[in-house]
Every structure is written in structure tokens, then in C-alpha cells.
């Protein structure tokens, strides 16, 4: 376990004031979300990677709580406490500690407590504009704090969704691949399985029931499952319903008969995932890859290109920006644009700032529907290290 370097608190505070003043001047109200959060809602929405690194504890009333592992979900909850209907546009900024368990021990580059300064925008009407405004503001803030050189990396989860949307396969496979997107290894395994041997084991699955199920009639399927359970003396227990079990059985039956994913479909997905290009050339590269395709995909590529244009118009030098299709896969809630600000001194695994679009998160923490949302945060200790010219 390495020694944690002492952080100069005053310098960090001064830097935070600079960052916040930039955010506030741009109209982002400074807020202080709670440090201690209810564990349930948090752990349901963050990916397993973050879940395994969250400090969870039970208080004396038996309530399960956690120390926030980032400030985005707490800021979402604060927004919903103010506007339960989630029907307003709102712009928030913050600066405060976040906490993460470090499995191999904490040290200066992997602290268990670090301070994030960031912004979140909820309810935007124009995603491209809001995305560009977020990145531009983060860059202005880190620049104001003294960062003179950086490298930008961008990605777009929306493009992956669009590619998946046009890929020729049953919807249930699309959902499964979408679900696994956050876990590259599992995703590769699933893609390989679907392209070679999509049939799952039928061991233990009642064949007579499978034969009787009609794929086009979920109501009949649910009733048959309930009947079968009753006839075999098995009680339906738990939260999972007979309808879900029927859907699972229908999927197994359909998979057993389904032809594997066409090689060109698997290749399209695989090639997309591997795409790395200068951001300014990525749209053209993707059009070449996908050829003449449906509206959904063309619209997603257009949206990507428009966003690049908006960033360039705002003065972001796009010539050195990298696009990576893989990028954005480590956090479970991003749905669109993702970005990272990298500094040479710290390398690609320790970005100085990062963020992205997460249109599904507010609904997952209690909003009545999906709410457009985009944000970004600065890793303040790293920024200070870089600005002072240190290496880690």
C-alpha cells in the first residue's frame, strides 16, 4: 500500500473557488448534495464496477446508507427533491468529496476520498447544444484553474444504440447486447455466442410446456406457465412474475430455433466497437462502415457531427480530439455523448475531468419519465497535481 501524499488543502480550496466561480458565472447554481446517500437507489443505478467500490453501511436505525461514490446521482436526487415532476430546466454546480473503496489499497493516485467539482444540466431542449455547452464550460474552468495543455477524448453511446438498432437480429438479442455493453468481456462473449451457437441448454426446461407456448400470445403463455406450476405443485414465489418466466421460456424456445447472427451483422458491431478515429473524421468513417442505412442511424451520425461542429464553433480545437467507440463503457448510466480531459503527466487512466449524457438516470432514481441530462466533473486533486507540474 503506497503512502497517500498530503494534499495542500488551501491550494485545493482556492482552485475549487476558481472552478465554481466559472460554473456560477455561466448560470449553474451552486448546490451541496448530501454526502450520505440511501444505498438502495444508488446501488441500483450505478454499474457493478462502482457498486463494488462503494462504502455501504447500516446506521443505528437499520437503514442502509452509503458514502457517495460520485456527485452525479446525489445531484439528480437533489433536483428531484426540488422538482418531483422533473418538468423544469435546471443547472447545478458543486464541489465536494466523493468516496471509493480501493481494492488494492489507497494511495495518492487512487485515493479513497477525493473532491469532485462539476456541473449537471437537467431538462435541456437541445441535446447537442447542451452537450457542447457542458464540455466547453468544463474546459473553461480547468483552463481558468491553470491547465494549459490537455488532450480530449470523446465517444457517443447513442451511436452504439443506433448501430444495434439497425443490426439484423431479434429484439431480445438487441436487449441482451445493450445490457452487456457496459461489460466488454461479457459483451464479446455474448456476441460470439449469438454468432455461433445461439441455442441455450434446454436441460431442465419442460418440453411439453415449451411446445404449447405460442410466441405471439404472451397472455396465453403466462396462463400456461401458471397452470404448469400449479399442476406440478410448484409455488410461484418471489417478485418475478409468471409473465416474466413465460417470456424467458419463449426466449429459450426461440433461441433454440434461431439461425445464428449473420457474419456481416456481427462484423458490423465488432468493427464499430473497435472504431478509433480523429473526432472530426469519425462521422465519415461511420458512414463508410454502415453504408446507406436507415434513418435512425443516419440521424445519430448527423447528431454526432453537429455536436462536433458546435464544439468547434465554441472555440474547441477539434483537430487533436480522439473519438473512441469503446469509450464510455465503464460507467453504467451514460446514454449519449461522453468525454474525458486527459493530461500528459497523468496518462490515459487518470483523466483530469470527464462527463457525459445520461438521459435514463433520473427516471431510475424516481423521476416519472426519462429526463434529458448531461454533466461533467473535475477530479480536483489530479488537476492540482498537473497544474503544479507534478507527476501524480
Amino acid at each position: 500500500m503506497g503512502a497517500v501524499q498530503p494534499v495542500n488543502f488551501e491550494a485545493l480550496e482556492a482552485q475549487a473557488r476558481t472552478l465554481l466561480s466559472v460554473f456560477i458565472a455561466a448560470g449553474y447554481e451552486a448546490v451541496a448534495p448530501e454526502t450520505i446517500q440511501p444505498a438502495g437507489v444508488f446501488l441500483n443505478v450505478v454499474g457493478e464496477a462502482l457498486r463494488g467500490r462503494t462504502y455501504v453501511f447500516t446506521d443505528l436505525n437499520g437503514e442502509e446508507l452509503c458514502l457517495r461514490p460520485d456527485l452525479t446521482v446525489p445531484t439528480c436526487r437533489l433536483y428531484l427533491q426540488r422538482y418531483p415532476a422533473a418538468d423544469r430546466e435546471a443547472f447545478y454546480s458543486y464541489n465536494g468529496p466523493a468516496f471509493r473503496f480501493q481494492p488494492t489499497g489507497a494511495d495518492a493516485s487512487h485515493p479513497r476520498e477525493f473532491r469532485q467539482a462539476g456541473i449537471e444540466a437537467f431538462g435541456d431542449k437541445d441535446a447537442g447544444e447542451a452537450d457542447a455547452r457542458t464540455l466547453v464550460l468544463i474546459l473553461r474552468a480547468v483552463q481558468q484553474a491553470g491547465l494549459s495543455a490537455w488532450k480530449l477524448r470523446v465517444g457517443d453511446i447513442g451511436l452504439f444504440d443506433a448501430i444495434l438498432g439497425v443490426a439484423d437480429m431479434p429484439d431480445r438479442w438487441r436487449r441482451r447486447l445493450r445490457h452487456q455493453f457496459w461489460r466488454p468481456e461479457a459483451f464479446r462473449a455474448e456476441l460470439k455466442r449469438l454468432s455461433t451457437e445461439p441455442a441455450r441448454s434446454m436441460a431442465g426446461v419442460p418440453q411439453a410446456l415449451i411446445d404449447a407456448l405460442r410466441p405471439d400470445d404472451p397472455v396465453q403463455a403466462e396462463a400456461l406457465v401458471a397452470e404448469h406450476l400449479q399442476a406440478s405443485g410448484v409455488e410461484l414465489i418471489g417478485v418475478r412474475s409468471a409473465a416474466e418466466i413465460a417470456e424467458g421460456l419463449l426466449a429459450i424456445a426461440a433461441d433454440a430455433k434461431a439461425p445464428p447472427l449473420k457474419p456481416e451483422t456481427a462484423a458490423l458491431i465488432d468493427t464499430y466497437i473497435r472504431t478509433r478515429a480523429p473526432a472530426a473524421e469519425a462521422a465519415a468513417a461511420l458512414r463508410r462502415l454502415t453504408g446507406k442505412s436507415s434513418n435512425g442511424l443516419a440521424a445519430a451520425i448527423d447528431a454526432y457531427e453537429r455536436r462536433c461542429g458546435l464544439l468547434a464553433d465554441s472555440g474547441v480545437d477539434m483537430s487533436g480530439v480522439d473519438f473512441s467507440a469503446e469509450f464510455g463503457r465503464s460507467v453504467g448510466y451514460y446514454t449519449g455523448f461522453v468525454f474525458e480531459v486527459l493530461a500528459d503527466a497523468l496518462g490515459p487512466s487518470s483523466p483530469v475531468a470527464g462527463g457525459g449524457r445520461y438521459d435514463g438516470l433520473l427516471k431510475a432514481v424516481g423521476a416519472p419519465r426519462d429526463v434529458p441530462a448531461v454533466g461533467g466533473a473535475v477530479h480536483t486533486e489530479r488537476l492540482l497535481t498537473v497544474v503544479r507540474g507534478g507527476r501524480r
Binding site: 457493478e48 457498486r51 452487456q180 461479457a186 436441460a203 417478485v239 416474466e244 424467458g248 426466449a251
Partner: protein, 234 residues
């Protein structure tokens, strides 16, 4: 430096009786020192050994910290509670009692889930319907996490359960469980079934040595004398 070897023995129940029987097979007799309800003891005829009667889970902590040199406890407790178990302790000998399998079990009515891998497809629909991942009730947090992620299952949440884990799916507080079972009868009575490839660990009581205890010449000598009687090469 310790001059006496600490031998940690389960303090109650079948595990204590069976440990005593195991030692008796080699002609060794456990004896309590002082008050009959006390927690210290010795082995008749073997010098230099203090017997500590403590709970099986506490024995793991004693071995991991080096407070005990030798102990009798379940492999499940060792694997669950010591992250780098093979660096901290040596499993010297499985003892043939205290058998229990640590397993993944789901409601019997989940007719579409038989292998661990089937959980993934089910979890996609489950999240769509209920807006949350599967909850896995267990007291084996580490064993469950290691096993499930090793099988590529990621969309679940562990909820710690310190008792009556088998009842949690029917109660709706969890969707599936990771727990120990010996005959499977309790699982069946609670409407649960072990997944086809859902056995995480076939556990039993083991004679375990700490690698981090103070192995002075005196304690090493006491260990060798004990092992000679038990017919174990240390």
C-alpha cells in the same frame, strides 16, 4: 515471542464434539482448564499447547491475525473471510465433518433459469419490469461476488443476510440466494432449487495452520509433537 502454541477449537455444538472425536481417534483428550464453563483448555499429555475454545468464525480471525497457530474451522469461513487465504493460512487436512455446500439457489418456479448463465437473460427482463437488478441475499458476500463475476453475471446486488436467508425470496426481500446447504431439504421447503452449475464450494471442517503466527522454536516444537500424534506432516 510466544513460547506456547495456541490451538483454536470450536466452542460449542456438533463442531466441538466432532473435533474432540477427531482428536480422540489419535488418543488425544481435550480438557478444560479452570472453570468447567471456561474457554481455555489443554490437551492431556501434550505440553506447550493452549487450547482456546472460540466460535468457528472467530477462529478464522485468530488464524488470519496469527493469534492462533492452529485451528479447526470450515473452509467456507476461511474462503469468505480471508481475501488472500492461501497467503495467510494452510489447509492441512479436511476432517470429514461439518460438511456444507455453498450454493446459488433460485425459486423453483423459475423454469427458464437452470444454469448460472441463464440469470443474465432473466436479469435483462427483470430490470425492465422492476427497474432494479436482482437482489442476492447471502452472508457469503465475497464468495458470492467472486463466483458470479467469474461466471460473467454482473447485474445483481448483494444484500447481506445474517439468518433465515432461505426465506428471503418468498418474503420478497431478495430474488435469489447464496447459502450453505447440507441435504437441500431447507432449500426445498422454501421453494428453492440449486442451479445446475451453482455449487460454489464443497466445504467441510479443516485443520488449518496460520502462516502469520509466531512460529518460534518452542511453538514449532509443540506443533511437531501435535502433528506426530495426528499423523500429519506439517
Amino acid at each position: 515471542m510466544s513460547t506456547r502454541l495456541t490451538f483454536a477449537v470450536p466452542s460449542k455444538g456438533r463442531l466441538m464434539e466432532q473435533t474432540a472425536e477427531f482428536l480422540a481417534e489419535s488418543g488425544l483428550k481435550l480438557k478444560k482448564v479452570g472453570h468447567d464453563r471456561g474457554y481455555r483448555g489443554e490437551i492431556e499429555g501434550l505440553d506447550g499447547i493452549d487450547v482456546a475454545f472460540i466460535s468457528a468464525s472467530e477462529i478464522v480471525a485468530y488464524l488470519n491475525s496469527g493469534r492462533a497457530h492452529i485451528g479447526v474451522t470450515g473452509e467456507d469461513l476461511i474462503r469468505e473471510n480471508i481475501v488472500d487465504a492461501d497467503d495467510r493460512v494452510t489447509l492441512l487436512k479436511p476432517l470429514g465433518f461439518g460438511r456444507a455446500d455453498v450454493v446459488v439457489a433460485v425459486p423453483n418456479c423459475w423454469m427458464d433459469v437452470h444454469a448460472v448463465a441463464d440469470l443474465e437473460a432473466a436479469s435483462v427482463v427483470f430490470r425492465r419490469e422492476h427497474g432494479r437488478p436482482f437482489r442476492v441475499a447471502t452472508k457469503y458476500l465475497n464468495l458470492a461476488r467472486r463466483f458470479l463475476s467469474g461466471k460473467g453475471i454482473a447485474d445483481y446486488r448483494i444484500v447481506e443476510s445474517l439468518g433465515a436467508t432461505e426465506g428471503t425470496p418468498a418474503a420478497g426481500t431478495a430474488d435469489l440466494i447464496v447459502d450453505i446447504t447440507t441435504t437441500g431439504a431447507t432449500l426445498a421447503a422454501n421453494g428453492l432449487r440449486v442451479l445446475d452449475d451453482g455449487v460454489i464450494l464443497r466445504s467441510q471442517a479443516n485443520l488449518v495452520a496460520s502462516k502469520v503466527a509466531d512460529w518460534s522454536p518452542e511453538t514449532t516444537k509443540a506443533r511437531d509433537a501435535l502433528f506426530a500424534r495426528l499423523g500429519i506432516s506439517g
